[in-house]
Symmetry: C2
């Protein structure tokens, strides 16, 4: 640590001092149901919060053509009207330190049947150590922590000496196109921190993800002549079963993928959604399933996709010999995984701040889930520190995030900003929104 | 046959003379997409057609409470606003002959993806011997045949001597509540003809049907921790598989059910519809499947339902030992099957008219599908003659009905009316709409 004890303590004390306000703002943000394509009001809130802090503001609607031209783009099958990224930039008076991106996503996944929740997914509550609500852990607590970590430094009378881009991006849960669009817009830095809910750990490696829809078709009939028909729901189950042969094969290869050797089941093919048929008394002739498959870092999405298509081509009939027609359509992620190289300066700084706050060594791990970290590492060579709080049920019912974990992560990020960017004593006249070199 | 040759020939000639108009009217009726709860405009057409023929008209909205009080009612989970039955009654000047109900249903099943049809399901075409469109066979051709058979008798200068109720009912494809409501309203007669698409044959026996929804629930998670979650789509498949054990057991009992011994697979459990999950990257925690199960005549719906519930109660976990929660909700048919007793006068008359028109013996058969015939046989002791034309794909794509078969069925019904009700030479002053005894 290069910060002296007193400075460090000033910053940590300011995180505590601002923490009630941080939780209140997190709850307010959770109350905006920023489901895919419905992020606008939540982005309004993020925009205002950044603007209030004097940041240089940028908000833009994602451009379908620009994004689609990028090799890492996910398939876009929704309208991007009013689907905006928000970036607020802090410029130090004199840019002497290292630059930083503090990234987080504003989009959240659907809630499932709200009746299954103890209380409304959009009515964030605080219950002991837990702050609840859809998106609380994944990842509004982290997105807000980025801003309040910065606040603590400022309130401590300090100014970061490096440029900082605060990014509130869309589309992390389906395509990764939000972070990709921010990169395309020119935002870059020497490190990026993404406080996803990672159980107080740092992500060393993660999987890539491909989304696609499988449509199985057959011949509809009246159930009175059921045997002459073909039940597409059963057939879809059969095709998914055959696809799981590929899942098994990929999992069996884990030993040849560094950082994945010790995971029990690193590659998950998730059957996430199904819809088929329209009448109890008609034998259904079509069924659609939405699948999410994972791939190891180092395997390109193109290569994985080719394997999937080749494997599906071997599925020509069901277990009774009925011919099957299965059509695939990619409809989201088409993303490779990434590995955070060991020994980077950014990681070393984070190790120090984590030890300082948690009193423990930073642990790294491999996660079998998609992360926007890949956008920064793969396409800009920026070390991505995906590191965030303890959570529960992030894609389930009664999602929640640990409040004390958020407090410590915020402290660790605040110290990271100070260590990474460097700090100067703020001059009375400095105003971060106006003092940047133009 | 008690009709003399000349009279018979006059009637048959008039069916031919009116047949182009009959086909045109059938096509017009098919063009009204009378899906469940959307039957209103098609019923307008039927009402006007009956009114034009001078029938005494009755049109009423189904009453949920009245119907629900009947033991044979199907569960109502839609609104019956504007869901009407239409009945037109012919009263002879002097009611000397036997009374008759000519019944048919106006509702049709969904089309599935319209893109799978050669042309729009609602754009009825004539293509060689086939008249196409959703509902063409099931059963607008038959519904219209009832009216045009009557027309032929009238145009031949004859008047049926028995009372006739022309019924255009709703809800045959989901609950049977339309015919039930007509019975509750007081319509009864000494025989009923229902020209469902039965391949020029008479139904001797058929199954009862129960509809229900199975909702399987579990614990949703992020796919990164997929093994800790529970995929409700897979679990639903497992539950349906276990339910098929009961289907096998019931099919194995076919030898003890008269008229079902020779069917290969009389009892079909149809998995007609499925919906589950809401996001490719969330492990789905709920899945709903709509099932249609069949039961033998003589088995009450209550008894069959008890067996289903008892069997499902044995499904407590999946093949990996994960606990399963499966909730059932009945949502349509709760109907017993029926057998048409051999040797009835009505059947004997139909045997004669069929032989006359087809030059062949009337064949009877057992159908593993639901029929409204059960309403008349079970709850009013009326012999139900379910007898109608050759069709294809009645719950599938490109549904169609054989035109020459419709012509012959219409002729057979016309002769049946004349034989069953008796005929008199029409007097110039008679007007069927006004001549009834009041």
């Amino acid at each position: 640590m290069t910060l002296d004890n007193a400075t460090r303590e000033r910053i940590l004390a300011e995180v505590d001092a601002g923490f009630d306000a941080q939780l209140a703002f997190t709850q307010e943000l959770v109350r905006h149901p920023s489901l895919r394509t419905e992020e606008s009001s939540a982005q309004d809130l993020m925009f205002a919060a950044m603007q209030d802090r004097g940041l240089e503001m940028d908000r833009w609607e994602l451009d379908v053509d620009d994004i689609a031209s990028h090799e890492g783009a996910g398939i876009i099958d929704v309208s991007y009207d009013d689907v905006d990224n928000v970036v607020g930039t802090y410029h130090p008076a004199l840019e002497a330190g290292r630059s930083l991106i503090l990234n987080g996503h504003i989009d959240v996944v659907p809630t499932g049947p709200e009746s299954e929740w103890a209380t409304s997914p959009w009515d964030s509550r605080i219950d002991g150590d837990w702050l609840t609500g859809r998106g609380s852990g994944d990842m509004k607590a982290g997105l807000v922590a980025n801003l309040f970590a910065f606040d603590a430094i400022r309130r401590a009378g300090l100014s970061p000496a490096g440029r900082i881009h605060f990014q509130s991006v869309v589309e992390e849960e389906c395509t990764g196109n939000g972070s990709l669009a921010a990169l395309q817009r020119g935002y870059t830095a020497e490190a990026v921190v993404i406080p996803e809910p990672e159980e107080d750990m740092l992500v060393r490696a993660n999987v890539g993800v491909i989304w696609f829809r499988l449509r199985v078709s057959g011949k509809p009939t009246h159930p009175r002549e059921m045997s002459s028909g073909f039940n597409a729901i059963d057939a879809a189950h059969h095709v998914v079963g055959r696809l799981r042969e590929l899942e098994d094969r990929w999992n069996a290869q884990k030993d040849s993928h560094r950082y994945f050797e010790d995971l029990e089941h690193p590659i998950n093919f998730n059957l996430g959604k199904i819809a088929g048929g329209d009448w109890a008394s008609s034998v259904p002739a079509w069924c659609e399933v939405d699948l999410r498959v994972a791939l190891y870092p180092g395997v390109t999405a193109e290569d994985a996709w080719t394997e999937i298509i080749d494997h599906l081509a071997t599925v020509v009939d069901d277990e009774h010999g009925h011919p099957i027609t299965a059509r695939t359509t990619r409809n989201g992620f088409f993303a490779e995984g990434y590995v955070l190289d060991e020994g980077s300066d950014a990681e070393n700084v984070l190790r120090g701040t984590h030890r300082e706050v948690f009193g423990d060594e930073l642990r790294t791990f491999t996660t079998p889930g998609y992360l926007d970290g890949r956008v920064f590492t793969q396409y800009a060579g920026i070390p991505a520190l995906v590191y965030g709080p303890i959570s529960e049920a992030i894609h389930g019912y009664d999602e929640r995030v640990s409040i004390e974990s958020v407090r410590r992560i915020t402290k660790s990020i605040a110290l990271f900003i100070a260590e990474w960017c460097g700090i100067t004593e703020a001059r009375a006249e400095s105003d971060p929104g106006r003092s940047h070199s133009s």
